[in-house]
Symmetry: C2
Subunit: 404 residues, 2 copies
Amino acid sequence: MVNKYKEMLGAKSVIRELSEYAAARGKEIGYGNVFDYSLGNPSTSAPEGFKKAALRILTECDPMQVHGYSPSLGIPSVKEKVAASLKERFGLNYTAEHIFMTSGAAGAIAHAVRLVAEAGDEVLTFAPFFPEYHPYIDLSGACLRVVPADTERFQIHFERFREMLTKKVTAVLINTPNNPSGTVYTKETLQELARIMKEKEEEYGHEIYLISDEPYREIVFAGVEQEYVSKFYENTISCYSFSKSMSIPGERIGYIAVNPACKDAVTMVQMCGQISRGIGHNCPTSLIQLAVAEAVGETSDLSVYETNRNLIYEELVKLGFTCVKPGGTFYIFPKALEEDAKVFCQKAKKYDLILVPGDSFGCPGYFRMAYCIDTEKVKRSLPALRKFVEEEYGIRRENGKWQD
Amino acid sequence: MVNKYKEMLGAKSVIRELSEYAAARGKEIGYGNVFDYSLGNPSTSAPEGFKKAALRILTECDPMQVHGYSPSLGIPSVKEKVAASLKERFGLNYTAEHIFMTSGAAGAIAHAVRLVAEAGDEVLTFAPFFPEYHPYIDLSGACLRVVPADTERFQIHFERFREMLTKKVTAVLINTPNNPSGTVYTKETLQELARIMKEKEEEYGHEIYLISDEPYREIVFAGVEQEYVSKFYENTISCYSFSKSMSIPGERIGYIAVNPACKDAVTMVQMCGQISRGIGHNCPTSLIQLAVAEAVGETSDLSVYETNRNLIYEELVKLGFTCVKPGGTFYIFPKALEEDAKVFCQKAKKYDLILVPGDSFGCPGYFRMAYCIDTEKVKRSLPALRKFVEEEYGIRRENGKWQD
């Protein structure tokens, strides 16, 4: 593995590189003039309740209690509040025993994969997918395999899924609302997914767990509903992060919620405490645990993302892009105007538009825009987008319509 | 590994069990009457500077900056402050490039071992040692081997060390000031350790790294000096935690400092960022990073530990215990009054003395007292200790002297 880590240094993240380019370009022309759609860093403040809670805890509570070791599964009162909130919202019979507090969704997935996959086992995910799934899974010893995208709707390509769901697979990793497509899996998609997984569990005689990565659960737009994934399939491990809903990604706080009906649910949570010892996780920060628990259920003002989605989606459609309308998140994933999205995104840089090619999301030919930026900047970016398309791809607007 | 995690659930930590017993007993007779020497949870408040910094950051700084993603190697300004402080105090030429911010010492060791040991490699440590080293190392795929204790002084048993330092060993893990013995390695010990390791590096033709676990670095008593380990050996990875010096173990904050003269020092730090992706570490909490950086160099009032050490050591000696005088930490590690320290500690419970047998520290026949408790309680515990020794081991005081 030592050499593997060294090799990984060479293969820099495309997103990170583009973000660094945007920062460097910003130093030349002012960052306000760089239409930086590269990074998924929330653009709206943390909820007041979170800040108030943190201040109250720091000023009013016994520092020895606040800053002392927290139990390795999480602070019991925090776990209780999380369980109660989930139970109330989604109806599953969660108690504190089903909750394991983690350092964000990354920490949650690191534990979840070690819970259910041995070295050599396969974990399936669906393109387009968050590129960090590769290190999350592959460095645990298991192997991530990617089911090709349903590019029509960015739901699930069930035919390919059935083929790839072999006996080696012990877990399926999904992400809805989805990064990078913004798609929300429909009820029908989740039902069919569960049906196939149950069928294969019986056929193979071993559990196939559903790891549901849900950091965007709270960012869903009008007219769309995100069903609670765990309701559809008992052997589900939900991985949540407060990073996006409370705009606190740097505070590294989330949790695992094991479906109460999952096989050995309570033992699974306890095993997370053992996994922690091996990876040096040892519980998220106690101050932040306590603060999010007080503010549980609150979110940042997330409406800006829907405003941005509307502006960008409408413009893209006008410009003739093929694009699935995002139902949530702060991402959109249109088809590029030429086959190689890397070339497309490279050309966009000339117009100070920072777009991320879809290749690393397992979906070549598409590109991602992370529209967690100020609406004012989104508005200013649209003429640049128009100019880019016009000049590079010869598409012109005539009589109110775009023509080749 | 899944079964391994399940097995581990059965093998509960002795320290944790004793601590739970103490809490339960506390509910019966009042916790103030339980002389709970089981846990190493600091008993003195966090420094004012830490609290002030956290409050200032929460109230005055841009929340998007504070709570946003921090770079995976740590916030640059924080790394700079840590490097500058280390350079000033210890003279090594650290810069931000040599620092990797971690979730406490557990996070630091998790990265350090993966940096330098492949699956199957051996890591040596010295008894008595912190029992969590076993999961830290063994669950990474490497194998921890324990060099038997030098029970005379709790320095290093160099003869056994030389024998065990085979070609398979890629790292040596030390902890000074030491948990559980409280011993501070002398300059001579560190020189001899470095000499042997360099000799073997040349003989074997591969690096042997020194991982120096230093959470107690700041807790050193009058007349004793803790030399800075990294000064003695270039291939040193220092693992630090603010848990004990600032009494904030729940806030999970520490760092790795790679000796600037270590082979590939800067690359090693960058590789830590890759290791992080695999274990879901992804940087410690940004608020806490920023707060410790503002308070760097400050400590809690640590004098209570020396006061407690004096009281307990003097009493133990009076009672006839064989005991190496601790030079730091908040632990003491005397020889039990019968061969089986587990039986000894079991008997102590009758007197509401919670002592931890040395077996899990790799040193049977000894026991640990964690004296990070109020001095007032330490004083009240001494008559109980006296009574325990008198009644159970027939040692009586006559004419001011203890007699068999």
